[in-house]
Amino acid sequence: MKTIEILRIDSLNRSPLIVEGYLFEGSEPTAPSVAIVGAMEGETILPLYTASKLVDFLRHSLDDESKIVGNILVIPSVNHYALNINQRFWPLDKTDINTMFPGYGEGETTQRIAKKLFDALQGYTHGIILETREGISTCIPYIKLFESGYEDLKSAKKFGYRLIHHKSLKPTDTVSLQYNWQLWGTKAYSIICPSDTNIDLNTSNEVFDGIVNFLSKNKIIRYKVLSGYQSTIVKNRDIEIIKTSKSGIFIPTKKIGTTIKKDEMIGKVIHSLEGKVTHRIFSPCDGLIACIYKNGLIFENAVAFRVIKSG
């Protein structure tokens, strides 16, 4: 394993931001390769943990170096500055690095970070980005693939997660790493991780096992795995959005990943000052709870649940 410096940014008073990648050189030069990007934002603890766990796995758990067949680059964190102060975006100007691609070497700070990162990510067969959802919700682990015309749905199934969200492209997605990486010839996938700030070992194992599945099935590593799910491809029309008609204290009564029936109660809202139940949330369809609003206080008309419809 080699440690390589991807980029360095100095600060007026903080230690320099030094982003490093861990490069595991494969035994077969013609084998497919992969680069994995962890936390581009602060508050993305599971992406950070999963990527660092992968570094440890590749270093210590494969008993023979020849079991690493293709090149693997892991960059666990790009945004230490935000992680260390529990902020989501670049701490000075609050810009999101994942909206700066393909980057610009003569531009603003986060454009320069994106450019240096993007340069280091070129030439890989596959690219994996560990992300969390935007907004105030958490979810089961799933793959997000943009309908860009470059996406590879078949390969995305090799992670073995329950869902692949095949998502229509918004204007703001055109400056994301996934879209630009695909445009430059790498098969890129975003793994959307639960946005919990504590590590749940079961969930983190699920995210991690999916990556190992993918590496194994693409013959990037030799490692026997247990197969995951036969992923279901989900389009926007397959998602039922369930909002709360009242604001207040939000109590989901079902967990993410739960299969539910139509008319089943899945949550309630409590009047924040008087304690009474002001709203009960019932599922309008059979399905799977994929995402839940994660704060205890909820706005009126906020999206409380996203349910993948079945039946």
Binding site: I9, D10, S11, L12, R88, F89, L92, D93, K94, T99, E106, G107, E108, T109, T110, Q111, R112, E134, G135, I136, K170, P171, T172, T174, V175, I241, K243, K246, S247, G248, I249, S272, L273, N295, L297, I298, F299, E300, N301, A302, V303
Partner: protein, 316 residues
Amino acid sequence: MQITEIFSSQLPVGEKLTIKKGRFEPKEKKPDTKRISIVSGTHGDELEGQYVIYLLSSWLNENPDAINGIVDLYPAVNSLGIDTITRGFPIYEVDLNRTFPGAKHDYLPGQLVHALAEDVKGSDIAIDIHSSNIFLKEIPQIRINKEFSPSTLPLAKKLNCDFIWIHDAVTVLEATFSHTMNEMGTKTLVVEMGVGMTLTQAYGRQLLSGILNLLKSEGIITTDEEFEQREPFSSEVGDVFYINSPSAGLFVQSITHCAIIKKGDVIGTIVDPLSGKIHHTIYAPSGGILFTLREFPVVYEGSLIARIFGESHENN
């Protein structure tokens, strides 16, 4: 003036989030009565538009008989952000001006911008007033997407601003208010002026004259009063030069904002307080007008220091 709520959402604990609109209209409306919408405060740290709308509202209150058209005022789109010094939509941390057009079943910021777009829809003209951010100070200027410039440039010239910046179409900007409204058929202009979290009163009065000038020329107001109309510089006949910091440090200005400068003039220095040394001296790469200057002194490599509008140069 009528005040209405175009969007409301009950917050979790004893408070309501509302987006308000003030409407001035003539005593008698005709089918061809023109309508203009003036929007500000999409970013919670930008307050210059609040002052301009106050001045405009005050003028219209004092001149009710001058009103021939409908003037809709939306001073505080991100009302929760303005009152909490938060640029994005609080809690969600999203830039509302990258969330358009939104949708009824979108997340809350998407619902809010959808409500705004639906309410402004049908206006003949819209003006979206921004004040840069806390980092940069801008002279009063209009930003126009080249795609829509045939219809918006003539209006921009009436707004008494100093600079009109016509930029190429950028996909990511399709999520802005101006792009959304232009697509919907409302001629929409973006004003940038001043600096975040403050009021630059002279700029506010300058833009007020421009808006009244535009209203008069469009027949939305009728008055004998004459309003100033400056001849703006236009990016059609020159280049915009960006000057970014070469290193981290403290930026110390050496020049006045909005100055006409020569190539090689010193714009400022990047210094290190601890060692007492100057890391870099920043020189103007071109002569021209300095229309953007950094106000917030802490910089990283790449932080924008200044923008100059000058003669076209192949090395830019």
